[in-house]
Subunit: 135 residues, 2 copies
C-alpha cells in the first residue's frame, strides 16, 4: 500500500521543528536525537546526508560538517501522527556523538545513578580543536 | 565510571518536556517517540512501566492504560546534552502504536512516497472500541 499524501511529516505540529531519531542501519543502535525543519528534511532527501536544524545555532546543521562524521541516510520513516521522523543511517567515523561516543546515549541509569557505558571512539578536543558546544 | 549528578535529564531544557525514544529491548526496533515531564520520568523509574506526558490530553499517559499494551522498562539512557531519553522496553501485546502496528514508524519513504511497511498486529477499533485519537 502506498500513500500519496505530501502532508507528511507535518512540521506545523512542532511549530516548524520535529524530533528525529537516528538509528544505525546495521547495528540497530539508537545514535542520537535531533530536530529537523522542513528545509533540512528536504535537503536530507535530496542529498542523502542527514541534515538537522540546530536549535542553539539557529541554522541548518549538516551532520559531520565539522567532524567529518556524516550520516548517510539509508531509510526514512515517519510516525503515525506525522510528527516525528526515524532515520536509518550509516554513521561515518563510527561515532555520532560530539563527545566522541558511538551513540549520544552513552549513559545508562543504574541503581539511581548515571553510569557511562559507552566507549570513546574519538577525542573531541583532537577532532574539533576545541571543546565542542552542544548542538 | 559513575556520575552522581541528579541534574539529568534536564527538563528545563525542553520547557518541562523532553522527547523520549522507546526501543524494543529484544529486537532493537524503534517503537515510538513520546514526551516525558519530570513527574512521568519519576513514575517510570518507580514503577518500571513507561509513563509519558500526553501533550494533547495534557496529563500523564501510562502507556497501555487503555489498550493493555504496557511497556516494561528494562534500561534507561540519557543523551549527551541531557535533553532526550532512550528507553529499552519489553512491549506487551507486540504493538506500541495506537494504529495497531508494532512500531509507530510503519511508513517508509520510497520513491518520494510513504509506503506502509508494517503489519497490523491488532485492529484499533476492536481494542479501543472507537477510533483512537492521537496522543
Amino acid at each position: 500500500m502506498t500513500e500519496t499524501t505530501n502532508a507528511l511529516p507535518d512540521f506545523s505540529k512542532g511549530q516548524g521543528l520535529l524530533p528525529v531519531v537516528a538509528q544505525d542501519a546495521a547495528s540497530g543502535a539508537v545514535l542520537m536525537m535531533a530536530y529537523m525543519n522542513e528545509e533540512s528534511f528536504q535537503e536530507t532527501i535530496s542529498t542523502g546526508r542527514a541534515v538537522y536544524y540546530s536549535r542553539s545555532r539557529k541554522r541548518l546543521w549538516r551532520k559531520g560538517e565539522e567532524s567529518g562524521n556524516v550520516q548517510r541516510v539509508k531509510e526514512i520513516y515517519v510516525d503515525c501522527d506525522g510528527d516525528s521522523i526515524l532515520l536509518k543511517v550509516e554513521q561515518a567515523g563510527g561515532a555520532a556523538c560530539h563527545e566522541g561516543y558511538a551513540s549520544c546515549f552513552y549513559r545508562r541509569r543504574t541503581a539511581g545513578k548515571w553510569e557511562v557505558i559507552g566507549e570513546r571512539v574519538f577525542d573531541p578536543n583532537a577532532v574539533y580543536g576545541h571543546p565542542k558546544k552542544s548542538t
